[in-house]
């Protein structure tokens, strides 16, 4: 199970089915991202796709009848209309229509009636309707999916489509379980189930012949674990996303001073960049030393390149130049990123902040932690955003603690000029009243930490204080694979498929409210241990985007659980 491979296979299918010859691709906004995350433009060139065009913006009227046109769009009403226009006055010689999801027959009929010059050669549904971020991670790119703690209708439809297409592209007909008590998870599960029932012929995969347990689709709610997206991350991919933010595999460095022109926007794709692929889950310290090794190798090679004395040297130079060039690009790119990460780390005092974050997430020592938070708030080096996150963690952690002093901390934030309404919003969004399961399971975590701590002293870098926290998802999945009884916490919607006490072979997790790269790492570790898990979410969050989502989800609603923080509400409308 690899979502990147799924998307690639679909795109390759489009390219090969349209036969040899020069091709252009007609895409919409979303399919453009889907393709660009799976293939670099150079890869598409090698597949004879030379031009790309967006169906929904700024099209020229140039006719190029000698080109084949691969149309790959989402089957939305608007896209169908635009495509109908195109077919009425075709600009290209022939058209191959691929829809990224299930398209109503009436729309096909409508399009067929528009194709008066008989230029359509193929009409197909290929279910590449999600962004494949890592082999085990997909996103639907919905930054905010909720409004007043319920689904935004568009986001719900998109999520149903996205998850259904993931299932179809991996050929899974799963048992659907959702987090009980979460209406958003339940609504999504229901609609996905309805869609599967409606299109039962599509989902007829005949995989249960060997008696294996059917795959599992587990729909979770971000609000069960609001801690993970708030923590600082120290593994490469997660850290880059947290500090510099990754959008569609791209990192925007244009706002940073002293960045060379070619490195304003960097592509981080493990598929195209071997270094990144190998090190995306490695921690900051490890990457530091790896990149040093890479530098040394590069310098050695550069030295070799310099001494061009004989014809043989010259020939050698020409022959190895392309690899050399490629390597220098990789080194430069990651040096740029690492340089930026480490300067931010020092500037924002992140080591200290992160250590405390991990402590709050994993250990209950209220008074001591409160003191440390106050000390950090007083430290000028820590940015106000980091302070807010710390207080947010504290508020979530000690919401029901007798001596909880969230108000006092909020007052301190206010005096530093920070926005305090985030904290009550977060508690409304994902406070104790919303959560299920043991997010702060003291006994378990404390025990594990005691052990690791003791060993950290003697060992450098293996495990450390900055990566103590493991996301709740990991535990949930371990339970699933152990074959634990799930019905009470994760009821199944199509229970007739549920096998008797057998853990599933394949699991697709979908997180309403967004997944994180830390969770992707946990899934990666499980996959390395031989399980087959794919994680997806409405979005891939870092702390900033998560806070935005929380604010959007709680906007304009009445707060019930945070009366004590009354004066920190966003505006008087809430009241």
């Amino acid at each position: 199970m690899n979502v990147i491979t799924s998307i690639k296979l679909y795109i390759e299918k489009m390219c090969s089915e349209s036969g040899p010859g020069m091709k252009t691709m007609l895409l919409d906004k979303e399919t453009t991202s889907i393709i660009s995350m799976a293939f670099a433009q150079s890869d598409m060139l090698q597949r004879e796709v030379f031009l790309f065009e967006r169906i929904d913006s700024g099209r020229s009227n140039e006719r190029m009848k000698y080109l084949k046109c691969i149309v790959f769009i989402r089957p939305t009403k608007q896209n169908v209309q635009l495509l109908a226009q195109e077919l009425r006055s075709p600009k290209y010689g022939s058209y191959f229509l691929y829809f990224s999801n299930i398209i109503p027959r009436t729309d096909i009929k409508f399009l067929a009636e528009c194709d008066e010059s008989e230029s359509v050669r193929e009409v197909k549904e290929l279910y590449a309707d999600y962004l494949a971020v890592n082999p085990n991670l997909f996103s639907l790119n919905i930054p905010t999916c909720m409004q007043r703690l319920n689904w935004l209708p568009d986001a719900l439809t998109r999520s149903v489509h996205g998850v259904v297409s993931v299932l179809l592209s991996l050929k899974l007909n799963p048992v659907i379980r959702y987090r009980s008590g979460s209406t958003v998870a339940q609504t999504l599960a229901k609609q996905i189930f309805e869609q599967i029932t409606k299109e039962s012929s599509l989902f007829d995969f005949r995989t249960h012949e060997n008696g294996a347990a059917p795959p599992l689709l587990l729909i979770l709610d971000r609000r069960d674990d609001p801690v993970t997206p708030l923590l600082h991350q120290w593994t490469y991919q997660a850290m880059v996303h947290e500090l510099l933010s990754i959008r569609n595999n791209r990192v925007d460095l244009s706002g940073i001073q002293g960045i060379p022109k070619d490195y304003k926007e960097l592509v981080l794709s493990g598929d195209q960049d071997e270094f990144y692929g190998k090190n995306m889950y490695a921690n900051f310290g490890e990457i530091g030393s790896t990149i040093k090794g890479l530098m040394e190798e590069f310098q050695r090679k550069a030295k070799d390149q310099k001494k061009v004395e004989s014809i043989a040297d010259m020939k050698n130079f020409i022959e190895t130049y392309p690899q050399f060039k490629k390597m220098s690009g990789t080194v430069q790119k990651h040096l740029c990123i690492m340089g930026e990460l480490s300067s931010l780390t020092t500037k924002r005092n992140l080591f200290e902040v992160s250590e405390l974050e991990q402590e709050i997430a994993c250990r209950a020592e209220h008074s001591q932690q409160l003191q440390r938070i106050k000390k950090i708030i007083g430290d000028e080096r820590t940015s106000i955003n980091d302070v807010i996150k710390l207080v947010a963690l504290y508020a979530l952690r000690y919401e029901r603690h007798a001596n909880c002093d969230t108000s006092g901390l909020l007052q301190m934030i206010k005096s530093r000029g920070g926005q305090t309404h985030i904290i009550p919003s977060l508690i409304e969004y994902a406070g104790t009243h919303m959560r299920q399961g043991e997010l702060f399971n003291l006994v378990r975590i404390a025990g594990a930490i005691k052990l690791t701590r003791n060993f950290i002293i003697g060992l450098k870098g293996v495990e450390n204080v900055f990566t103590q926290h493991t996301p709740l998802l990991k535990e949930t999945l371990e339970e699933v694979f152990k074959g634990r009884e799930l019905d009470s916490m994760y009821p199944a919607i199509n229970s007739e498929l549920v096998p008797f006490r057998r853990p599933p072979q394949e699991v697709v997790v979908f997180m309403v409210g967004g997944a994180t790269y830390e969770e992707a790492l946990a899934v990666h570790q499980l996959n390395n241990a031989g399980y087959r898990v794919i994680l997806g979410g409405t979005y891939i969050h870092n702390s900033t985007s998560f806070i935005d989502e929380v604010l959007a989800a709680t906007e304009n609603m009445q707060f019930k659980h945070t009366k004590s923080m009354l004066r920190h509400y966003a505006s008087s409308d809430n009241y």
């Binding site: 199970m1 690899n2 799924s6 296979l9 679909y10 020069m22 252009t24 150079s42 060139l45 090698q46 030379f50 031009l51 140039e62 190029m64 009848k65 000698y66 080109l67 096909i108 009929k109 067929a112 009636e113 008066e116 010059s117 359509v120 009409v123 197909k124 549904e125 290929l126 279910y127 082999p135 085990n136 179809l168 592209s169 991996l170 050929k171 995969f205 493990g270 692929g277 190998k278 995306m280 889950y281 490695a282 921690n283 900051f284 310290g285 490890e286 530091g288 030393s289 050698n316 022959e319 392309p322 480490s342 594990a448 052990l451 690791t452 060992l459 495990e463 990566t467 790492l521 570790q525």
Partner: protein, 516 residues
Amino acid sequence: MSNPFGDFDDDGEILEGFICPICREDLKSLEFLISHFERLHPEEDDLKTTFREIFSKAKKKIKSNFEETFDLSRNNASISSRGSSTASNAIAKETSNARSRMNCFNFMDYQEVGKEQQHMEYFQSMRNPRLERYASETNKLIIRLHKLLKDMPIDAVLRKQHEQNIVPWLDGSSVKLCPNCAKSFNITRRKHHCRLCGSIMCHDCSKFLSIEVALELASLTMAHSESLKSENDKTASTNPQQNALRTCDHCLWLLETRQEMHESRTSRPPIIQIYNDIQQLRKNVKPDIEMYLKIINSLYDGESIFTLNDASALRGKIGQVAEAIDILSKRILAIPCEPGTREESLKKSVRLSCIQLIKENMLALPVLPKEDEIRQIQERKRMETEMRIATERRQAMEAYEKYGLEAAASGHSLRTDDYAQGMDLHSIDNWTAHQIRNDDLVQSDDPLVEQINIIKGYIKQARQDLNFEVVETLEINLRELQKEFYERQRSLSRTANTPNGDNSPPSQEAGATIYK
């Protein structure tokens, strides 16, 4: 860069062996390590117990390994890596971040293409009736057009008659309004007829199909358009209405669509032609590149199927194709077009893809090994083979020694037989090597030798033609033949030398390796 995860530079290397976790001394054996540990580090009591545990585990593992190979002394199994990290792994089984450094992106277990759903049939069933109706209508129009154009009188009155003869005009008496724009007919807005379908419209709604285009359209179905054209050339006048046919909107649209479809199917602008040439070259050179890589690998492996000359000849050929592609793609770029158009970006993309192809697949080929390098590799390979044979032989002997007692009881001396075997092989080797030098001249009466010679001839020819796939299969054939030849010679000589040489298990294997 400040690094909270510890400095990797000094302890990054992984030490192997029986290493003391505290002073990092390699102590060569388990007994030494434990005594060293007890002597020098008595204070770390708890650690000691853990190490005992680890080692007892390791011991078990090693033991099981030993049982498999039944060779205690030579197995150099080692307890890996820094002792301290072993300890932590054994006790704290917490999985660390990114423990496996495998690139998860290269990890591609086979995956089939996901589900798809076909809609073309339905699409066609919806599209076809409509298209068929249009097609038959268009065909009718073209036939009429042809009839109209054929023997068209020049005189206006006669022409009108001619037109009405072919297409009956609609009776206009009951039509009060133009069906197209719904304006009433009167003195100034007169009724007109479509010359192709006979329907009525006003002048403003009329379209005109020029005779030239009409001729072209008609010639789609009829061959003798040339004569028509020459006739009509004389009739060409300046009046556009005279030089054109009045038609209605619908008829003209049908004809234009037909015309356009025809054009788009037949048009082959220069860019397409050059592009197809490039694709052809690309397709042709692909097996060459694969072959080249194969040859290079085989050379580096010390095999002698291919020679260095083969590789450099092929490389030259690939280089030539690269150059040809480069020239062709430049020619595409040189086709004139308006700046800023999509055509221009298309040409740039094509050129870019060619450059990319040349750079990555054709110029970045691995370098040829040097002549003496190959010799070294082959020498080493030979040595390795000899070593292997030697060890195999020794192992076999050891095995015999082990079971020798039982064998001795049965009164059959395998050992001497084995020695005899070795001697025997040796002599055959010498003798046949000599044989091969002469067999071109002398042994041509043997059909096998004859076959060998023929194949050698073929190989020479295939080399000249740079057809390396053939070279490869032939070389393999040749080898098989030669092997067969040797086997026969040997069995001949063996039946002469040792009459009871049937029970000699390792000889088969040893014999095969010698000829490599």
